[in-house]
């Protein structure tokens, strides 16, 4: 039924004719995007590490990683370049950026003048590197607080409780279960920043992926490509990879070391055997290796794998070097070391134990009998404290204590032990003394933050009730009336002597304190022993500041002699020794260039 009102009502529209129009006649000024608008990207180029996670998550493949800077540890030097012909402004790249360097401005207009650019370059730029008007724009999209696309917390590693630990030398880290390992492996973004930093350039993302996919045998194979001591490194590696892990910027680094350990722990005997299956064609070349530490073992593994006849000469009765005679068993069980060594021996490497070069055998003999010699004798000459009284028989070195424990030599340290030093040897000595039932105090010249020891180890030592005295300079050791030691030390202040350099501990005038001890353990570093450099063959080798000179392949002035490990590299850890061994193995192969049938 039609009403009159229905005829008139539509004329209501005329009312609008007298009102302000909705539309704007002329766009007088650009309308800014809202304060959180998802506009053109900005990138803090110095904060960005070139991990490429932004490119990984971009489902439009809008991001290319392009070289912008020199690569360095923890920074690939690449930076994201964004193609706005593809970008859909989802900002997932911003959300996932592990450093938080990537943001978005609220700018959304960009006029490209002329067509002189390659069309593929049009509307493309590298934020932070190619200047844009919106570079400093404070408004725009930022990842909101509390919202994460990454899992930033580590899966905690189960440990023995501190009380339990002190009763024995049983390994304190229990290891990840399958479930925990996969959880931890899932956190990895596979950027590979770690690989570049690892001295051995282990393919970390690949073996973590193998864990995620539960392909243990494959993971083990990946480990052995660059590291023939994975069981060891999975426990004691200095893990510089973790220092640069992309996740460490806003969260906790992936437990790379523990994941490596997980692989070796759950690999079966068959998995290990499978690694030996590929046929090795023997070569008519012999290599001698001095020292069965990680450097020597690594060189031996890769050379034997290439077909060389390899013989190792080791002064001790077992292989491992500092891994066995230095690192205590609660951190690295001998059985694990033995397993890794057995795998190397299975390749046909011949081990000559109790064979000290320079004492039992001459270097000249090796030099003449073998086609090349690789030397990795480490550093085992402990430095002395260098104060009056440090020649007391109750002042021993950390290495002495540790090797005695390894060898099963009974040690009597008394009740009170003072350890001098702040490195890993000091921590190992202190915690070993703790396990022998002593009260232990560590004396260190600088502050806690300056300690070269691993933070984790310092923390664990604390848990085990090791005492610490920082900024303490040893002054004198005397014998007290009761036959025990009286150790004088003075308080130091930290003085910045040159700008940019680390502050030096300087003794405060007149400060003198005393601590009583039954044994003092010096753990302030060690030097190289040159017993092996006897005879004529080694005469060509150059020494500078007591160190053997070699090129980056470890090749000395005599091209038949290569060196590696602690005696050569400044980082002095197992993985660098392993990398040195692998690198020299390749260099030796290149030098000898033996005939091979394909």
């Amino acid at each position: 039924m039609m009403r009159l009102q229905d005829i008139l009502s539509p004329f209501y529209v005329w009312k609008r004719a007298f009102e302000k129009p909705f539309s704007i006649a002329v766009l007088s000024a650009p309308r800014p995007g809202s304060p959180t608008y998802r506009g053109f990207h900005q990138n803090d180029i110095d904060k960005c590490i070139g991990c490429g996670t932004c490119a990984e998550i971009c489902q439009n493949v809008s991001i290319d990683m392009v070289p912008v800077k020199e690569a360095q540890d923890g920074d690939s030097g690449l930076r994201p370049r964004i193609d706005y012909g593809r970008c859909c402004w989802c900002a997932l790249c911003v959300d996932i950026c592990p450093t938080g360097s990537l943001t978005m401005s609220n700018a959304y207009t960009w006029v490209e003048e002329g067509l002189d650019r390659d069309v593929r370059e049009t509307y493309c730029y590298t934020p932070g590197a190619d200047p844009q008007p919106w570079d400093d724009e404070a408004l725009g999209y930022r990842k909101p607080e509390g919202y994460e696309l990454l899992h930033l917390e580590r899966v905690p590693m189960p440990h023995l409780a501190p009380g339990e630990r002190l009763n024995s030398f049983v390994e304190m880290v229990k290891g990840y279960s399958h479930e925990l390992a996969v959880q931890e492996a899932d956190r990895c973004i596979q950027c590979g920043i770690c690989t570049a930093t690892c001295p051995a350039h282990m393919n970390i993302p690949a073996y973590i992926k193998a864990i995620r996919e539960d392909k243990i045998a494959e993971g083990l194979k990946i480990l052995y490509e660059t590291n023939p001591l994975p069981g060891v490194c999975g426990r004691i590696c200095t893990r510089r990879c973790e220092d640069v892990c992309a996740l460490s910027h806003r969260g906790e680094a992936i437990s790379i070391r523990w994941l490596k350990r997980y692989l070796t722990d759950c690999a079966s005997a068959e998995d290990y055997k499978a690694l030996l299956e590929s046929e090795i064609k023997p070569l008519d070349r012999k290599i001698a290796i001095i020292g069965a530490g990680p450097g020597g073992l690594s060189a031996a593994y890769y050379l034997a794998g290439m077909g060389y006849a390899v013989e190792i000469f080791e002064q001790n009765a077992a292989a491992g070097g500092m891994l066995r005679y230095g690192i205590p068993e609660y951190r690295l069980p001998y059985t694990k070391l033995d397993q890794d060594v057995a795998q190397i021996a299975a390749l046909g490497v011949k081990f000559n134990y109790n064979a000290c070069i320079g004492r039992d055998l001459s270097f000249d003999d090796l030099y003449n009998r073998f086609d090349a010699v690789f030397v990795s004798v480490g550093m085992f000459e402990p430095y002395r404290i260098g104060i009056p009284g440090d020649d007391n028989a109750k002042v021993i070195s950390g290495l002495q204590l540790l090797s005695d424990v390894t060898n099963g030599v009974p040690v009597d340290l008394g009740r009170r032990v003072v350890v001098v030093g702040g490195g890993n040897v000091a921590m190992d000595a202190a915690r070993t003394a703790k396990r022998l039932g002593c009260e232990v105090t560590v004396l260190y010249r600088r502050r806690e933050v300056d300690m070269p020891a691993d933070v984790e180890e310092i923390e664990e030592a604390r848990e085990e009730s090791v005492n610490f005295i920082f900024q303490a300079i040893p002054l004198e050791i005397k014998t007290a009336d009761d036959g025990s030691l009286s150790f004088d030390w003075g308080k130091a202040e930290m003085v910045q002597q040159k700008p940019g350099e680390r502050p030096q501990p300087i003794l405060i005038e007149g400060s003198r304190e005393n601590i009583a001890a039954d044994t003092i353990i010096a753990a302030i570093g060690q030097g190289v022993n040159y017993l092996w450099m006897d005879g004529e063959a080694s005469a060509k080798i150059e020494l500078k500041k007591f160190r053997v000179q070699a090129d980056r392949w470890g090749r000395t002035a005599d091209t038949k002699i290569f060196i590696g490990g602690d005696m050569f590299n400044p980082t002095a850890d197992a993985i660098t020794a392993i990398a040195d061994g692998h690198r020299s193995a390749r260099a030796i192969d290149k030098m000898l260039n033996p005939p091979r049938e394909n």
Partner: protein, 385 residues
């Protein structure tokens, strides 16, 4: 009219083209009278449609297939594009399906914000539709008002989510952020404007003799058609049914809101328009309720495992929500890997724009086909995904 229909032989209509009584006319795929890129192949006799065949496929982008090759997180920016005027239902359902398979419960505050987002999105979609419906009957002025007001809603979205159309706000596990300061006041202003707009529309559209004349009795949906054609949303509520997912199987926090399903009795174009117009009032009311009762503090997102390797446990699920067109559903199948095995999107427009429209168009005047089509509120992009 009866004699205009072509004779039926073996269940198919047969044309005697030589009779010169019939003409084929295409409406679409590019045509101001279609609701998006699809086309209607109309067989007409005189001014009347004797047969209608709906053709789709012009907007096929292969989203469902694309998703099988993408990590879950990478599907998140894709799904909103399935429906342009009301993308958020897709965001919500994709996230909800994933969360269901993962067995996750999102924080309370995120639930309220998702509901707010969905209602605001319904509001924008309805307002735009009102413009479309009036435009289809020649009332372009109303269409312009409506588009202007929809833009004000988009301003609100921009301020809140950082984007106007594709908000990409409901990430799996929660939402991307809270409401910015001052947003409530802006929202109130926009709602107020729309409230007034609705009254203007009442004058100009619902009380308009021409609209009444053309819309009443056009495209009548009767109860026997409900299940036969799978009719949902305002299309079914315009014929007296109370079907509304928000009431029938409440999701998010709809059960904490005070509202009733809006129904009208006529079943025709006019009744459906009335339902939608009233649902705009309802949306305004719901948004106000949400803003009043919503928790303002608390987490917005749960901690997910690294999304780059997020695996969803094997299984399947169907989740649904009430979009402006009715039941919108996501059927998700996971084989336990990092990629969805299958995601099927059930857009309500599929049945409405095809089977139902083909049925309702018969006998309609060609000039009213556009109005009829819009009255079913169909969005071709959700038909094809």
């Amino acid at each position: 009219m009866e004699n205009l229909y072509p004779p039926i032989v073996d269940g198919k209509s047969v044309y005697d083209l030589d009779s010169q009584k019939y003409l084929k006319m295409w409406q679409g795929p590019q045509h101001p009278g279609v609701t998006g890129n699809m086309s209607l192949e109309l067989d007409i006799s005189g001014d009347q449609v004797v047969k209608c065949k709906a053709h789709v496929g012009y907007l096929h982008r292969g989203f469902e297939k694309l998703m099988e090759r993408r990590r879950y997180i990478n599907c998140f920016p894709i799904v909103c594009r399935i429906c342009v005027p009301e993308p958020d239902t897709n965001e919500y359902l994709f996230a909800a399906a994933m969360e269901d398979l993962l067995g996750l419960d999102i924080p309370e505050r995120a639930k309220w914000l998702r509901t707010l987002n969905l209602e605001l999105s319904r509001l924008a979609s309805f307002v735009m539709w009102l413009g479309g419906q009036s435009g289809a009957f020649g009332m372009g002025t109303v269409a312009q008002w409506c588009l202007a007001h929809r833009d004000y809603v988009l301003d609100l979205f921009e301020e809140w989510t950082g984007a106007r159309i594709y908000h990409m706000y409901m990430t799996p596990g929660g939402v991307r952020g809270g409401l910015p300061e001052g947003w409530d006041a802006h929202a109130e202003k926009v709602l107020d404007g729309i409230y007034k707009l609705l009254d203007e529309i009442r004058h100009v559209m619902f009380n308009n003799a021409i609209f009444k004349q053309r819309a009443k009795g056009l495209g009548v949906i009767t109860p026997d058609m409900f299940d036969r054609f799978g009719i949902v949303g305002p299309n079914v509520r315009g014929s007296g049914s109370t079907r509304d997912i928000r009431k029938d199987t409440p999701y998010l926090i709809y059960d904490q809101l005070d509202f009733e399903a809006v129904t009208e009795q006529g079943g025709d174009v006019y009744a459906r328009a009335k339902v939608r117009w009233r649902e705009v009032y309802q949306s305004i009311d719901l948004i106000r309720q949400i803003l009043k009762n919503m928790p303002r503090k608390g987490p917005l997102h749960i901690t997910l495992p690294n999304v780059l390797h997020l695996k969803v446990p094997a299984g399947e699920t169907y989740v649904r929500a009430e979009s402006t067109r009715g039941e919108y559903g996501y059927y998700m199948v996971s084989d336990g890997s990092e990629y969805p095995r299958k995601v099927t999107v059930r857009g309500p427009s599929y049945t409405h724009a095809m089977a139902l429209l083909e049925h309702l168009a018969v006998g309609v005047n060609t000039a009213d086909v556009a109005g009829l089509m819009v009255s079913l509120h169909t969005y071709p992009p959700e038909i094809e995904r």
